[in-house]
């Protein structure tokens, strides 16, 4: 009963299924309706469900995200699409001060079944203002949950789970992933929304990644295998909460940790992963945990420079190699 489809199509199916099943589900955002969504995620829904359930909004990110918060308080299940993460900075107050805090501030009186879908990450030469990875600013906000699907199957599962949940959830979709293909089983039971998954078992080191970098990590692992480095790849699937047990079990087995993240290294998502896993697995670690991350610089428009600012497969391979054979590498380094 599985079907091959693109990442955006999986999201589109999940939306359609949820809207069909529950009239309290509606979506809103810029050009989600008549236009069909910048990344086609809402394609066809406007014709099928009408303008009240598929609402084209003015360019008012803060306002329409706040609208979603209000609607959620009275039991609706709004799916807000912020066209890209770059504009989510205008909706921070609605997300952080309203959505994430109303449940506690009200003493638990109100549900907050709000889903905020946000394409993001570095696509292709969109320049500094359109090349952001801001997952980290949501991670430090208690009350929010963050899903980061890397496959069409997870996109389908996690969007469905996010809509079904009464907690406010941010779904971060990587712009490069929309046109990646994968099998999607629409009847199988989904794993819990925030459970991490081992994409590739291995014994020499643990590579933790998420969203697009989970794919890069798997490519790197394949490369490493040729050099007899057996990497285990953990795809977090969620950035809040993080499935520490799955991560720790892996690190305790491999004794080495390499984090791969596209966001800027300094105080990025990986910092928490290193900090928590060091706290948990200190005794098991035989080498300092490392990060392969984006450079701490706004993204230049030029394509070569853009590529140089984010992790590439060879960078991951090199870092993993260095982590597994520190001595040898040190030697070469000195030699060279």
């Amino acid at each position: 009963m599985a079907e091959e489809m693109l990442y955006w199509q999986a999201l589109n199916r999940a939306m359609d299924r949820a809207m069909e099943a529950d009239i309290s589900v509606f979506t809103l955002g810029e050009d989600v309706g008549l236009y069909g969504g910048t990344y086609r995620v809402t394609e066809g829904l406007y014709a099928k469900y009408g303008e009240w359930r598929v609402r084209d909004t003015p360019i008012s990110e803060g306002g329409f995200t706040g609208l979603g918060v209000g609607a959620a308080m009275v039991g609706m299940r709004p799916v807000v699409e912020i066209m890209t993460i770059n504009f989510a900075l205008l909706a921070m107050d609605s997300i952080v001060n309203a959505a994430a805090k109303i449940p506690l501030m009200s003493g638990g009186q109100f549900p907050m079944a709000l889903v905020v879908r946000v394409p993001g990450g570095i696509a292709r030469q969109l320049a500094a203002q359109h090349s952001q990875r801001r997952e980290q600013i949501f991670m430090n906000v208690p009350g929010l949950r963050i899903a980061v699907p890397s496959t069409p199957q997870d996109a389908y599962w996690q969007l469905g789970q996010a809509i079904a949940s009464d907690d406010p959830i941010i779904l971060l979709e990587h712009e490069i992933l929309y046109f990646t293909k994968g099998m999607v089983d629409m009847v199988a039971d989904a794993p819990p929304m925030h459970r991490a998954i081992i994409r590739r078992p291995g014994k020499d080191l643990t590579i933790v990644a998420y969203s697009r970098t989970a794919l890069l990590a798997q490519e790197a692992a394949a490369e490493l295998a040729k050099e007899n480095v057996d990497a285990e790849v953990v795809d977090l699937r969620s950035l809040s909460p993080i499935d520490w047990n799955t991560c720790a079990t892996s690190v305790n087995k491999t004794h080495r940790l390499l984090m791969v993240e596209e966001d800027c290294r300094f105080a990025g998502a990986g910092a928490e992963v290193l900090a928590s896993l060091t706290e948990r697995c200190f005794a098991a670690l035989t080498a300092p945990p490392q990060r392969v991350a984006g450079l701490d610089i706004p993204t230049p428009y030029n394509g070569t420079l853009e590529a140089a600012t984010i992790p590439q497969v060879p960078d991951i391979v090199a870092a993993a190699r260095a982590l597994c054979q520190p001595a040898k590498v040190k030697a070469t380094a000195e030699a060279g």
Partner: protein, 350 residues
Amino acid sequence: MERETMHRLLRDMLLARTFEERAAAEYMKANIKGFLHLYPGEEAVAAGVINAADASDYVVSTYREHVHALIRGVPARQVMAELFGRTGGVSGGMGGSMHMFDRERRFMGGYAIVGESCPIAVGIAYAVVMRDRPEAVICFFGDGAMNQGAFHEALNMAGLWHLPVLFVCENNHYAIGTEVHRHSAVPDLYKRAAAYNIPAERIDGMDVLKVYEAGGRALDHVRRGDGPQFLECETYRYRGHSMSDPGTYRPAVELKAYQAHDPLSAAIRELEFRYPSPEELAAVGPDHIARLGQHMIEAGHAREAEVEAIKQDVKKMVEDAVQFALDSPQPTMDAAWQALRCNRREEVII
């Protein structure tokens, strides 16, 4: 207007005034902490508008919301206990002065980020339309909030989609220490609603009867599906912005102007009732509550004795509320985690 309504309005305003003055006293005793934004001077706005609302309407307010909650029907006990941060508070002691919520009474919360209440009210109204209900959402905010981007975005959406929102601007002429002419390019605030195609009216927010009537008219339109309405209520806060503000930036002549606004005779008449106390009255200047009492007596709707009786009632009610708050237990950390996570119910996360 029928006698009952007038009585309710007077009672509500007296309760509001008594409650707030007592809250100030409890703040001095350190039974209440944090920020405390009081409402004396503005009672006619909340009393007039909320009394004109149906039980099925929704109310969204700001950090200056105790009185809105009281008039909406939240028991004084629960409002006071929330100020004390106790379990018996309307938000279980989690929200405090600025964050009172009462789902049952459709009191959708006090919000402390200026302007933020507007998009939330618009969202509730959007749901009302999707459900095709004859309900209105009342959104309170101040003069200063109108310069916030969220206000603009919310009103444009409300106007664009004809959403059932009654926007009520409590224009007390100040955003903390900044007078309206120093923060708004167009100080005739109601005129700014035209930019969103929203019918607007400016009314005397010190006259509860006018507010009640205008509020009722506007709410009928809103519930009938005519789209949003905007009411600018001109009013004044007698105290500082919050307990920590002496309010020294306001010229004495301004208070005088508000005195002219109000027949002194009524104040004197009221003095005889010994409410508010001479000191209080001197401190607060004009008093629209006094005016209504006066008016009702002249109009033969009430005898002094009745007015006096109401005052005694509300005094008792507030007294009882304080006692309740003092007796109410402190919440536990478990209760906090529960409040944060209760929406998850059986959901398996990891």
